[in-house]
């Protein structure tokens, strides 16, 4: 970091090395992928393993094929009162539903949320790492990290491991000095700012109904209803989405968790329209 250099701050490992005359010996002291803030941009990969080559062999038509599908439905959209974030809660392992109520929203801090789709392990780990970096930023700079910067951090993490088989489709939502922010970050390093995103295998279904009902000047209740509807319709048609709808509303003073509605209840309520 530039400020690091200017202020002459040195991280603990270097200081210890200077004091005790030995180089960094512990893994945590060595320059590795945990030390995003420092100059050395090395990324730790287990020795002898070439993830890209391994993955290429898994994507051939004949033979084993690993499909990295984002089996879920998450959606988020901006409107006049902030950002609505709605996710389903089904975690599947192939054809097996491993968890019925898995919270796919990570509450990074009271003004920043991240959604998860893709590999649950990857999402949980990398978004928790993002949360750590956001906290460190807050401590070092005495101001909140912007949504743009947070999404950039995640995107750079993804770019460092590009092609190695990560599977993350995440939306970073927050409210900073520039107002409500919504970014979509992908495992390829894609980072897009937008008004509305939906990720996962059920995203098409969510797009249809949310596009249809979206208005910039919706009331909060209408926006909550639209978010729930999007997820409910997606779970109706997509086998990899289901469970409950976790609905969050990002406001100027932070996020609130609006509701956690069972999808079957929601569909029953809409039943008048569905067979």
């Amino acid at each position: 970091m530039a400020l690091c250099d200017v202020s002459g701050f040195r991280c603990g490992s270097e200081l210890r090395g200077q004091l005790f005359g030995t180089g960094p010996s512990l893994l945590s002291d060595r320059a590795n992928h945990f030390t995003f803030g420092t100059k050395c941009q090395e990324f730790a990969v287990p020795a002898g393993v070439d993830p890209s080559a391994f993955l290429k062999s898994c994507n051939e038509d004949d033979g084993v094929s690993i499909e990295m599908n984002h089996g879920t439905t998450t959606l988020a959209f901006k409107f006049q009162h902030g950002v609505i974030v709605a996710v389903d809660s089904r975690a599947s392992a192939g054809n097996y539903i491993s968890t019925k109520e898995f919270n796919k929203v990570i509450e990074i801090n009271p003004y920043l949320l991240g959604t998860m789709s893709g590999s649950a392990a990857d999402c949980q780990y990398w978004e928790r790492l993002l949360a750590k970096e956001c906290r460190l930023y807050r401590l070092r700079n005495n101001q909140r990290i912007s949504v743009s910067a947070a999404s950039k951090l995640l995107s750079n993490m993804m770019l460092g491991y590009r092609g190695m088989g990560l599977s993350i489709g995440s939306m970073i939502c927050g409210w900073d000095k520039k107002g409500p922010g919504l970014y979509y970050v992908d495992e390829n390093g894609t980072r897009l700012s937008g008004r509305m995103f939906s990720t996962g295998s059920g995203n098409g279904y969510a797009y249809g109904v949310v596009d249809s009902g979206y208005r910039e000047d919706m009331t909060m209740e209408q926006a909550y209803e639209l978010g729930c509807r999007g997820i409910a319709h997606a779970t109706h048609r997509d086998s990899y989405s289901g469970g409950v709808v976790n609905l969050y509303h990002m406001r100027e003073d932070g996020w609130i968790k609006v509701c956690k509605e069972d999808v079957s209840e929601l569909l029953h309520r809409y039943k008048k329209g569905m067979f």
Binding site: G202, G204, Y207, G208, S212, G213, E225, R229, H233
Partner: protein
């Protein structure tokens, strides 16, 4: 007599089973597949059946040409293009949006009108809903050429059935016939996914609107609501929320139009216009809606609410020119 030959009256059919004679002595003559004898009502003609078993390039079983499946009815022969077109970046599947649902006023069938070929829009005004007879239309998805051919074959076979037996085959029967005709091509590159939307008359126990989905891989499903194609997820969620049995005709048409529009909005392989067909007891009528976006900024969109629905509103800011063509009875029985 020609009619006698066509109707198969008195014809000695040597194959008394469901299986076709592959290759063999038939050569150029068409092979008839019969079930249980020459006078069986389900004699139908399978085109090119003789080629199915023959090499070296066995019919339909070659690897797909680079311009791939699910594309235009004809390869555009622009000057300078050779048979080696650029390979597909990813496998395409049914690049279209078609849908059909039934309600108290009949069956609504809707589709977009974009035919795509290797990422190019080959025809922006193609017809994806083909009338089969006066009370049956079929939506098409998959390879345009295959769909067009098989629809015509189906029309002909239905007419022959009607001449032989004096009654029109029901929608379910037509679907079964189409499914059996497509069965010999299972495993080949033939790709037809059709939704037959019709109104059954005559039989009092099974009359009214009927919707059956037939696919060349053997699927045959009867249902109340189907959407086929790459744009189908976008259409499904709009339809799921608001399709009910007791919709009025205007509401149903507006809903179908909105669903296809939503799909064209998000799907790259769907677009241009929306074809709408409405099948009733009196026959079908059709219209084509030109959907042109007056402005992309959806801040200014006006909406109207679907009566009785909650939450989902329709956008009306596009300049929509709707002209109903009362094409009425396609052929009189």
């Amino acid at each position: 007599m020609a009619l006698q030959d066509v109707c198969g009256v008195g014809r000695d059919s040597s194959e008394g089973t469901l299986f076709l004679s592959r290759g063999g002595a038939a050569g150029a003559t068409p092979s008839y597949a019969g079930l249980g004898g020459g006078r069986n009502p389900l004699n139908f003609y399978v085109p090119a059946a003789g080629f199915l078993g023959r090499g070296p390039v066995r019919f339909g079983q070659i690897s797909p040409p680079p311009s791939g499946t699910g594309e235009a009815a004809f390869l555009p022969t622009a000057p300078g293009t050779t048979s080696d077109v650029a390979p597909l970046p990813f496998p395409l599947s049914h690049g279209t949006t078609t849908l059909g649902f039934r309600f108290q006023g009949g069956v609504i069938a809707a589709a977009d009108t974009r035919s795509s070929c290797s990422g190019q829009v080959a025809c922006p005004a193609s017809q994806k809903i083909l009338p089969i007879h006066s009370h049956l239309v079929g939506t098409t998805s998959g390879t345009s050429a295959d769909c067009a051919l098989w629809k015509r074959i189906l029309s002909r076979e239905l007419r022959l059935y009607q001449l032989r037996h004096g009654r029109m085959l029901s929608t379910g029967g037509a679907a079964k016939l189409l499914s059996h005709m497509l069965h010999p091509f299972k495993g080949t590159e033939l790709c037809v996914a059709a939704t037959l939307c019709g109104w059954d008359r005559g039989d009092p126990t099974a009359s009214g609107p009927r919707l059956v989905y037939v696919c060349s891989d053997g699927t045959r499903l009867s249902g109340k609501l189907f959407s086929v194609g790459s744009g189908s997820p976008y259409a499904y969620s709009v339809l799921d929320g608001d399709v009910r049995w007791d919709l009025t005709v205007d509401e149903a048409v507006a809903l179908a139009r909105e669903a296809v529009y939503r799909a064209t909005h998000r799907d790259a392989y769907s677009g241009n216009n929306v074809d709408l067909y409405h099948v009733t007891a009196q026959g079908w009528r059709a219209g084509r809606v030109v959907v042109t976006k007056q402005h992309i900024n959806h801040h200014d969109m006006e909406l109207w609410a679907l009566p009785g629905g909650s939450g989902v509103k329709f956008h009306s800011s596009e300049k929509i020119e709707l002209y109903w063509v009362e094409l009425g009875l396609f052929l009189s029985i």
